[in-house]
Symmetry: none
Subunit: 203 residues, 4 copies
DNA sequence: TATGAATGAGTGTTCATTCAT
DNA sequence: TATGAATGAACACTCATTCAT
């Protein structure tokens, strides 16, 4: 049967309170990541994920109401470390430093598990998931805050600038990851060039 | 029965000789574009394409050996106008002008049918198709030629710069199209800012 | 989408652990036999088999990776009783008795379910299946062992003789089954005539 | 559409009187033979045959009302030389000589184009075709005539003996052809051993 | 609660056959 | 008459999801 829409089909079904359950959920998420990395979107299916997690398909559906919920949870898991780092970037003393820290966080995040990050970007662009995945919005908000700093070139349309920067950074890092680049510092420098160049040019 | 895949499963199967056939192929390609735009990658299946083209599923397979071949043909069709325009950009008198023309071509291409362009970008990134779709390579080659012009900041690693620029432009235009932007000139200006900013910054 | 064929596309996919599953597999095999008998090779398709087994098509593919694997499993099932009987023939005290027992096993096997046996012979000759179905080889090996007995006319080329005998027996029993013969003893006598006649004549 | 049964769907549609038509029919038959030999039953389809014949699929259907009619015509073509040779065997002075000549004809026929002969045997066993293909009956009749000769061991059930002999010969020659045997005389000798052995043994 | 057997709508693809040109 | 474009029923196979145990 194909997706009879349940109430809120993308939120995890139950917050696991028992440690055993927590372990199962973690195993499922890591298995999902591994399947994506090894077999790509083509091989990413619930049965494969359950199998790799060493868990029955029934258990998967105990914790996730559907495949998209699993994907979304993985997106959140991957975004967590990154979001914290990005958030701390906002606290840097100057806009320039904050922006550099922000870019660094993006680049590090992407090069950690490049294939996974790229595929999750693709998944995140699917309407069914984008609706629910507020990650990009939060990032843009941080950027917006950074762009307001006095030492950075003022932008006539800050929201648009933030969106553009996010898009540029994502394009650059996705491509770099796909090419197999691993030098975080080198990539960060090039991304900074693009970002600061854009800000100066649009001023 | 599932047969072993024939020689080259991505090249068109039969060149239409009669005008009726040519019409069928054109209808199929346009139908593929429409299905992608209306129903996304999720709804993009051969039966739907044939139905929208007003053609039997058998006819689709007369001209395309498989779904991927259809996708690839659509990628080529969409790239044709654009490639010509991009190629003519190389002929501009200065590097600056050439780069601006190139960016303009990219932006125009993307905003023409933004949803379609974005989804084809995603498809093009699938390994099965990327192998056969030399589009990106040709574009990078043009960019490389443009970057060699004397009036542009010299790049220490030109091939990498070209790849970065392609990635940035793609990221910016994809996102803009997704947001529904329609003002070509405005987007072009922002992309130029990013592009020239990157070139200056990396020098 | 058509995936690249998995590792070993002819081995059963999953060994049924629960008794319910075992029942399903048995039902599928018997359904395959019935479909073959009633509708011939023309009507032998996975959907028909699943339907007659009273099982969903998905269940069929839980246990068999493809149609050929199902056919092969049926070949093995049909060959099992027969192989045991043939193997026990080798233990007879004299070559003559062993050969007669062997022929008897062949004839009994064939006349049990003549249509099924004949169609499985045809299927077994298909290259895709012959590679995996070692049945004929095992039979030939037994025959070879029997032919070495002292009381039988010595053969200059024993392997060839074994192959010839297998072919003769198969030809005779297939045709008899096709004609609807049911008298095992009568057919066995004629087959023996051919077999012993060949052995004497080639000596 | 699948086979709306026409009047007599297996007889050639029109007897070609013009030499051009005769050539087309011959080309189609030889193409059918080649396709069978190269691609087996799996690759034997009307479009492939027409293509290899250098003829349009429409033309194929001008001369043959369907695929089975084409197969049947090929069976007849292949049987023609053979039938003549077998018929002349009946004229030999003694039964022994006649039978040897008959066996020789069978063996020569089979080893000429072994793959083709084997696949046509399989096709001939399909009910749809067997009904129409009287080849085997004619052969059996000749054999029956030969078996009545005084110098051969008298058979209690001559029709059954003839059928058995046909089946044995077919089994032996099919298998030999499949193994790639090419030595006509050697195979003939073994077949004779089987045939005469059977006749003696059943007497 | 966990399992894994079962489901079946859906998708890609083939090929015998028809018929307008 | 010959062509080849078009047809569509049929088939192999997948995978998200359910539910009895």
């Amino acid at each position: 049967m194909t997706r009879p829409p349940t109430a809120s089909p993308l939120k995890p079904r139950k917050t696991p309170r028992q440690p055993r359950a927590e372990k199962t959920v973690a195993a499922l998420l890591e298995a999902a990541a591994l399947v994506l990395e090894r077999d790509g979107l083509e091989g990413f299916n619930t049965n494969a994920v359950a199998r790799r997690a060493g868990v029955s398909i029934g258990s998967l559906y105990q914790y996730f109401p559907g495949k998209d919920a699993l994907t979304l949870a993985l997106i959140h898991r991957e975004g967590e470390r990154f979001h914290a780092e990005a958030a701390s970037a906002v606290g840097e003393p100057t806009g320039t430093l904050a922006l550099k820290a922000f870019v660094g966080a993006c680049v590090r995040q992407q090069l950690q598990r490049p294939t996974l990050a790229r595929l999750l970007d693709v998944e995140e662009s699917r309407p069914a998931i984008r609706a629910e995945a507020g990650g990009a919005k939060a990032l843009s908000a941080m950027l917006l805050e950074i762009l307001a700093r006095g030492d950075l070139p003022p932008q006539p349309r800050p929201a648009l600038a933030a969106a553009d920067l996010m898009a540029m950074v994502r394009g650059l890092t996705d491509a770099a990851g796909e090419r197999g680049e691993a030098d975080v510092a080198d990539l960060a420098r090039r991304v900074e060039a693009a970002v600061f160049g854009y800000l100066r040019g649009a001023a």
